[in-house]
């Protein structure tokens, strides 16, 4: 039986599909295996860079990625807190907050000092409208720096909102939902910090516990 005849058999089709499936799975497994470490390293580097942006220079001398701990929020979601220490003394905490924006979640990284004052906020992930809502990115505008130095006491709770809602933070022309989501997420982050203040710096580190 030659190849032409073999091609017409129904078994040939099944075997062909099987071989293709097997070969592509193998290729994917190989690609995944050989890129995994590089991707992890690149993502750790990304996180390190973001952490640097929300913490002033010289505030910490420890490796924040290794001094991380995990908390469970009231709604059951997990949050990883990176702790900044200088000579062993607690100096600040960095964690992710998220709010529901116009198109999906807006995820931000925020740094808070021991007294609960904001050191910095950076939006790290969002799908907001380009040209409108994306001004929350530091590369597109200075808006996000308005949070620097703010705390639960300043402004008071009534003023933790965008100007349209009687708060002190600017909204953008044509986009209120996005800044509102960020303000709410940051306020939520401060509440979280206040609620867990006593244990944030004493809880054992995740990575250290595993090692």
């Amino acid at each position: 039986m030659n190849f032409e005849q073999l091609r017409e058999k129904i078994g040939y089709h099944s075997v062909l599909l099987g071989v293709i499936g097997l070969a592509t799975s193998a290729a994917l497994a190989l690609a995944n295996h050989s890129t995994l470490d590089s991707i992890r390293a690149a993502e750790a580097q990304d996180l390190q860079n973001s952490l640097k942006q929300v913490l002033p220079d010289g505030l910490a001398d420890n490796d924040l990625l290794k001094d991380a701990t995990e908390f469970t929020r009231d709604d059951g979601s997990k949050v990883t807190v990176y702790r900044a220490r200088l000579g062993g003394d607690p100096k600040g905490a960095v964690f992710k907050v998220a709010g529901r924006g116009y198109a999906g979640d807006v995820v931000a990284l925020m740094g808070v000092d021991v007294t609960g004052r904001i050191l910095g906020v950076r939006v790290i992930k969002h799908q907001e409208t380009p040209g409108l809502g994306d001004k929350i990115e530091i590369s597109k505008g200075r808006w996000i720096t308005a949070f620097d130095g703010k705390s639960l006491a300043e402004p008071d709770t009534a003023h933790w909102g965008v100007k349209k809602d009687g708060g002190i933070f600017d909204q953008f022309a044509g986009a209120t939902i996005t800044p509102r989501a960020v303000v709410k997420a940051v306020k939520g982050g401060l509440d979280f910090y206040a609620a867990h203040k006593s244990e944030i710096f004493t809880k054992p580190a995740l990575v250290a516990a595993k090692e």
């Binding site: 599909l17 991707i39 380009p130």
Partner: protein, 226 residues
């Protein structure tokens, strides 16, 4: 069988242009052409996948039977895109952060499957690679043109953030044409993409029509041109 590379090039760039003639791959076209830079990035990434998928599919074309060709092509293309995604994430991480969201969109670009079906399944590996290259170039060209028009009218700039994609050496491409321009939001939103594409398609039709008319006039009166 001889391969006419001139025809392959002309097809990819103009006659059978993925966007302007075949009107394929509109999902990525509409989604990413909010700026010239985004269009360029998506175009180049798609071109890489097109070349690779054309090469692989034309090299296995003897074994693939017509009955199961579609699942085979789809699995091959999806695998290829996933590998490109992983490799870029690992070794070109900064570029990946700019292009990352576009890469997965390539799977749904029916232009890739379309070329596998229409060309790679019937031609030699080299010809298929050339077809992928020129189809990809034509796609890139279309995306850059649409992106630049939307960007110019929408935000008053050209190639903004090009240095993020191509490296600092290309920052000269970033031009603010209209300083202090408030921007036209509609052009950045999806309706702007449809409007620009529609106008470009109309312009192409008009040009083709004029060329056809001229040729007709020339052939109808051979004496006048002699």
């Amino acid at each position: 069988m001889t391969t006419n590379y001139r025809e392959i090039a002309a097809n990819g760039l103009w006659d059978q242009n993925v966007v302007f003639a075949q009107v394929l791959g509109l999902c990525p076209t509409m989604a990413v052409t909010t700026s010239g830079t985004n269009g360029l990035g998506m175009g180049l990434a798609t071109m890489a996948v097109l070349i690779a998928s054309n090469i692989i599919i034309s090299s296995v074309r003897m074994f693939v039977t017509p009955q199961v060709r579609i699942p085979v092509y789809i699995v091959l293309i999806a695998t290829l895109v996933t590998i490109v995604d992983l490799v870029m994430n690992a070794f070109m991480h900064d570029l990946y952060k700019v292009l990352g969201m576009f890469i997965a969109l390539i799977v749904v670009n029916c232009a890739v499957l379309g070329r596998a079906e229409a060309f790679a399944a019937r031609n030699t590996v080299v010809a298929s690679a050339a077809d992928g290259l020129f189809m990809g170039l034509g796609f890139t060209l279309a995306l850059v043109v649409i992106g630049l028009i939307r960007e110019l009218v929408g935000t008053g700039t050209l190639f903004s953030q090009a240095s993020l994609l191509l490296g600092p050496a290309f920052s000269f491409l970033e031009i603010t044409v209209l300083p202090g321009y408030g921007g036209t939001l509609l052009m950045i939103l999806p309706p702007g993409g449809f409007a620009v594409l529609g106008l470009l398609l109309a312009a192409r039709q008009y040009m083709e029509h004029r060329i056809a008319q001229r040729e007709e006039a020339a052939s109808a009166s051979p004496l006048a041109t002699a």
